[in-house]
Symmetry: C2
Subunit: 823 residues, 2 copies
């Protein structure tokens, strides 16, 4: 169990600033010392703290000693001292990034307890100089996101190196408050940079350069003493200190004002504003890795009260992003590589209108997807901006293909086949793909256009996996059945789908006979997300596809609808859709969310159209792809332009999105290839049934074969451990639980008996998780989302085992706390 | 008339590489010299060219002399020599960025004519060191986008400065091929950087450092001669040269393959793939400013033919982005500031799920919009991803508000009122807002749900502005009427709208009496974009809003529909919608596209809901805002969650989009404030009717008042000149023309008599414009888009007067060429 999580640092009473250097040797320590001394003079009633987290070089030359010598009354500290400029491998094992960041955080917290003050935190070397772990300075301290004072380079070449250093900080999400550099006339760096940065909202301060080193240490010391004395009265430094104070106050004031301003002018998605209070709005200052850095408005209100109380409560703190930022997050928030990738595409292209044009990012991404989907049917990539628009395109495509083959008109009412509880997006066309529900029935233009199947669900209860039929449908699906493992449920070849197939065929026959026209089968494979994290029996989805493909044409023979006949399967090219085009909405479930590139492999079926978004861009910005088969594509071919798919958003295939998506997918594929998730897979494949030696041998064989498989199938696994899931499902207040890939969901018993989206049973738990840290609990605060009485949690694909573990513990503890008793 | 436009440089026979330094003094010249000498040795049959575009410092020390001395047989050249490290203001006037880039381009072109070879182009100082104009090196040469060899910094601090320099190049869209640096063991820079960059796909080469300078020049020269001799056989340099060759071939091969790969796997928007040939697909290598850099596949095919012909045709060339990249472009392609802004938001947040959360970029953007729209009704900002989804939200909002006030049910069929030829997006809900047309009538689920008005159009014919009624509607609207200026048409107070109002009222009465329910008035103000750039008489739109607001409640009194009554205006709060909610779709027309922040001001009406996208993010990535009034917002308030607007895409209010949008809007607002567009405004406000002195006085007064207005109104103006528009409208093959803001559109007479979207009359002109450069014309090639027989052109908001002028000339010339005669 780890200690208090590391996060952004902000205290009302402590002004902290981090000193970065544009390069080594630009005078960081001189500027820091001058700043400390001037602070002592200007703000005699505040404590001044100088902190050098890591120092390299001889102890006698250490920066903290220099500060002690020339800035009396300043508390100085160095956390890690190394005698060599580069750090040994041994030391780097101990001085990890987390250790350093935590120590700095703890130190600043101590300062905050000591009363109003200022902390100067000096980094080592330049902005991207390596820390002991090998990480750059800017990446090492990013999690704290302290305001930055950048010491510019006054030497020849210093204009360029100062701007580059600033850019490196900027793309890592830092707020650079001000730039300070020695003013000299030869190169004019100060004059140039002053204008340059003023244009970018950053003030540049010029200081007189320190005296040249003399031959005698005593003379040097005297000269420096004189210099620092002059600097303590320097106008530029005085202004710089004033700005430092103002910026600190402004930052807090801005964060404090956010909820009220939002309450006034923002219309939030999926929000009932009448019952939502301003106080439940979370102001998010930044995010990093798996954490949001959230503003603690209550602490700030107490702290800024004019009662003179020492303001030492942290105003920012981490909350684990428990919804993977609405199911989008893959590679961690504030990922500098993705930020750079986005900037590169922006710098190379900006935007490229995509009709009749092609650019490398769109092309490579399309090829990466087609290869990754590994479905010979899928050859054509159509780009849109989000899951909803991508699904609109998918449905348009499918209906067009079906209407054409069956000889109908666009004006005929053609329906889709789907599953109850499905959700495909918020635009009218995709809303129409779902049956009437709380999400759509009050929307004026919603007209559900389809027929939706009930289906058996997978649930874990008291540590046992079950497949449960919908209430009252035992005669069709049989009664609930238990399984020894989730993997057994997904071992489709070992199971008998006859009952499902018969049920589907019976149902379709009666629908067709009643004169309904169908144009597509539309499904989310494995998990219906927004519908409440419903975990569908994959055999049912498999059977549905099978019957639609093998029997639908035949069933249509007796249909009362006017239809072009015959349309036997024998006329069709290989890989053509059969019966009805099958559309898989993998917007949520695809691209490793469930542990595999495509979730279609879980149901052992190859769709004719597949839609991907969310994780596609690794949690950065909107993009969606609709991938279709050649036969679907062919339905639009004609000499007439007006027969084409006349769909296209302005930013279709925007290079930034495509480039970021390509990098995201490649990164996740590489993680899969190199076994980054093996630690999780192991947890799920080590069932008591398998003795350890054969398993290891089996594993070795599969590793050699390049693909870890159990009995010839890839394993079903989750980042959430089997043990945790079992414990969770045993809790009294939990009805049932599921986990697969990075997804965990469980249903909370609602004492009032309400279930589904209208229940508020999970809200209390959600609040409890968010307040973890504030309540003095040892686990992380968790920012979770609920769907009625279902609480779900989702990791990113880079979440560390340790963080999954402490989230698991925090969840169990919170449930116990809420129910007031231990299980 | 400017000479051949500057653009990206790529020749089959000439391998060009640009040498950048991570800082001053890292050994750029030594590496360049060693490279030149090794090239001579390794590739004796190729010409080696060394080019130093700008050199500072004493002539005797010039880098080109150094290369001449130590790398015999290399052609060397310096284009601009300055004796001081910083360049005087006088010189910077002459040595502009364009002059430098053009000279380098010309020089490389000369080399290409001389047979197969290699060009080493060495920059001055570090990556971001200032050029004579003050621009950074990386920005100065960006337009050429030569592959880069970055000379890393081997000194203390060099790890950080090398990575920062690389990042500065990377975010400007450069391809950095390789990194070369002197290898030393003290700091281990080479070892660290080798791994770091390998992980990012860039090879790092370490070279032995050159000898230390001796006291005697003769000894120095001998030592250096020995060094360069060793380097010419150095393995690392040998590999570097091999990679340079491979990368060159790969780049061309990749570009060459793009159209065929796209033809195989990409489903393009708005494209009939049966008639589209692979050869008409444009491969776009990059974009910068107002130009796409397009690949000339034909030239490449000739060049790579195995016939041994010298391959000296440029494979890349600029084509003016004539559609503002599908109407999105505002601040130029590859804008480094927007790229940095995007990266900063990505680095600070990644993504933040937006339900119950607020972050600064979303908040500031909302406030910027509300302030800029200057419409007291508009207070609530809802975020989506593109115009189509934003309009879906707008229509949902309006229908909900109307249905509620009139006491209908969600299941009742409620229609919208609109204009014929409207276009609001590609999703089913927004398609339903337009009347049946070529865009939607073949879409299966399309059901036009509305009634659409005919309207009078503005057109310039033979230099005269007209308002023309739709064919056969003269009895309602009067016959065509001419105006002396466009501004007169927009002087709504001086015109009489009675006939329009009577027509609208009459029509609405009969619609309502026939039992139709209406829930919203939905319009694109001023110009209906995708409908064919239809320029609507603003007085008609003004009258429509006026009648709907003032009379609709009354008209409903006699409706046969069951409606909650009474609902007199007197019950409503101030700023409440009246009659019907008015929705303005400003996706295309807003945010300065027509020269003003909001296009609603042209029709002098304040909508209840306003939708903005495209220019919102300055042409970088998708984002959309739907801004609504408090009364519209109020329609969703209830104790029930299910009564809320249950709409929200995963990336709602993504911080990158919001931050980029805020920067874009602020930049355009600042351009407006500081008079950046005055040169265009002057062209449109200088009518012969106004003598020059009073105009100047008038202007002065208005400038003092802070707002340039004519007779109390802001002027109507365009970036396209009045003279050009007049000339264009006089062309025999042009039926009519329009221009406002950055938009120009004209209708080409179709000899076959077909008009509208199905006509192909404008295609020939489009092809002619794209081939301008290839045909040896002096004007720029122009990448334009057509809508049937309408060809339109759109500048960005930063396009320079000179570039508008040469586009105008190119358009006139192309039309003349096509029609085979001068007008």
């Amino acid at each position: 169990m780890r200690a208090r999580p590391v996060g952004s640092v902000l205290y009302t009473g402590l002004k902290a600033v981090q000193i970065y250097g544009a390069n080594t040797g630009v005078g960081k320590s001189v500027v820091s010392t001058a700043l400390c001394r001037a602070l002592r003079r200007k703000l005699p009633h505040e404590k001044v703290h100088y902190l050098k987290p890591i120092s390299t070089g001889p102890l006698g030359d250490a920066d903290d000693r220099h500060v002690s010598l020339f800035a009396k009354g300043v508390s100085t500290k160095c956390l890690f001292q190394f005698s060599e400029p580069t750090v040994s491998a041994d030391a780097s094992q101990v001085v990890t990034d987390e250790v350093v960041a935590r120590r700095v955080q703890d130190e600043l917290s101590t300062y905050a307890q000591q009363g109003d003050g200022i902390a100067i935190v000096e980094t080592a070397g330049g902005v991207l100089s390596p820390a002991p772990s090998g990480t750059s300075q800017a990446d090492l301290y990013r999690i704290l996101r302290l305001p930055v004072l950048l010491v510019g380079d006054h030497r020849l070449g210093g204009i360029g190196s100062t701007i580059s250093a600033w850019e490196s900080l900027y793309i890592r999400g830092y707020d650079v408050q001000s730039i300070v550099l020695f003013q000299e006339d030869t190169y004019g760096n100060h004059a140039y940079l002053k204008d340059y940065f003023a244009d970018r909202g950053v003030t540049t301060y010029g200081l007189p350069p320190p005296p040249e080193p003399a031959l005698s240490p005593a003379v040097d010391e005297e000269a420096m003493e004189g210099y620092y004395d002059r600097m303590s009265k320097d106008d530029a430094l005085d202004l710089c200190i004033t700005e430092l104070g103002h910026t600190h106050i402004e930052r807090i004031a801005k964060l404090l004002s956010l909820p009220a301003r939002a309450d006034r002018n923002i219309w939030h998605p999926f929000t009932q504003h009448q019952t939502r209070r301003e106080t439940t709005l979370t102001a998010i200052d930044s995010a990093y890795g798996d954490d949001f850095q959230i503003f603690k408005a209550d602490a700030a209100r107490t702290d800024t009260a004019p009662n003179g109380v020492v303001s030492s409560t942290g105003l920012l703190g981490p909350a684990r992003d428990g919804s993977a930022s609405w199911w989008t997050q893959g590679l961690g928030h504030g990922n500098p590589r993705l930020a750079l990738t986005a900037a590169h595409a922006a710098g190379r292209y900006g935007h490229v209108m995509f009709a009749d044009a092609i650019h490398e990012p769109a092309m490579s991404l399309a090829e990466t997807l087609i290869k990754g989907l590994d479905n010979s049917r899928l050859t054509r990539v159509f780009y849109t901006d989000n899951g909803s628009t991508g699904m609109e395109v998918a449905v348009k495509m499918a209906l067009k293909a079906a209407t054409q083959r069956y000889g109908w008109d666009a004006s005929d009412e053609v329906l889709i086949l789907g599953l109850k509880g499905s959700y495909h997006g918020d635009t009218i066309g995709t809303m129409d793909c779902s049956e009437p529900s709380v999400y759509n029935k009050k929307v004026e233009w919603y007209r559900g256009r389809g027929w939706w199947f009930d289906f058996p669900e997978i649930k874990m209860r008291k540590g046992v996996w079950y497949i449960e039929p919908p209430a009252g449908m035992e005669q069709d699906f049989g009664s609930a059945k238990s399984y020894t493992s989730l993997d057994k449920i997904f071992d489709l070849n070992s199971r008998d789908g006859t009952a499902y197939e018969e049920y589907v065929e019976r149902t379709l026959q009666s629908l067709v006979d009643s004169g309904k026209r169908f144009g597509a089968l539309v499904m989310e494979p494995v998990i219906l997300g927004a519908g409440g994290m419903l975990f569908v029996d994959p055999l049912f989805q498999h059977s549905l596809v099978k019957v639609v493909r093998n029997k639908f044409h035949q069933l249509m023979d007796n249909s009362p609808i006017q239809t072009r006949k015959p349309f036997g399967a024998e006329e069709l090219p290989a890989d053509a859709w059969q019966g009805l085009p099958v559309v898989f909405d993998e917007v949520f479930t695809g691209l490793y969310r469930l542990g595999r590139f495509t979730s279609s492999s879980f149901v052992n079926a190859s769709p004719d159209i597949s839609v991907h978004a969310k994780l596609l861009t690794g949690g950065l910005l909107p993009l969606c792809t609709t991938v279709a088969s050649e036969t679907i594509f062919g339905a639009y071919l004609s000499p007439e332009k007006s027969d084409a798919l006349l769909h296209g958003h302005s930013y279709t295939a925007h290079p930034i999105g495509c480039e970021v998506a390509k990098t995201s997918l490649n990164t996740m594929q590489q993680m899969d290839d190199t076994g980054d998730w093996d630690v999780y897979k192991d947890n799920w494949t080590s069932t008591p049934a398998l003795p350890s030696l054969p398993k290891a041998v089996e594993k070795l064989k599969s590793v050699i074969a390049g693909d870890a498989k159990i009995n010839g199938r890839a394993p079903v696994w989750s980042m959430w451990s089997q043990e945790f899931l079992s414990k969770l499902s045993h809790m009294d207040s939990v009805d049932s639980a599921i986990a697969i890939g990075s997804v965990l969901a469980f249903t909370v018993n609602d004492p009032s008996g309400v279930s589904g989206y209208s229940s508020t049973a999970a809200y209390d738990l959600r609040t409890c998780l968010l307040n973890n840290a504030a309540s003095g609990e040892s686990g992380p605060s968790i920012h979770a989302r609920v769907l009625g009485n279902v609480l779900y949690l989702m990791t990113s694909m880079t979440t560390k085992l340790e963080d999954v573990k402490n989230t698991e513990l925090a969840v169990l503890a919170a449930i116990q706390r809420l129910s007031g008793k231990a299980t």
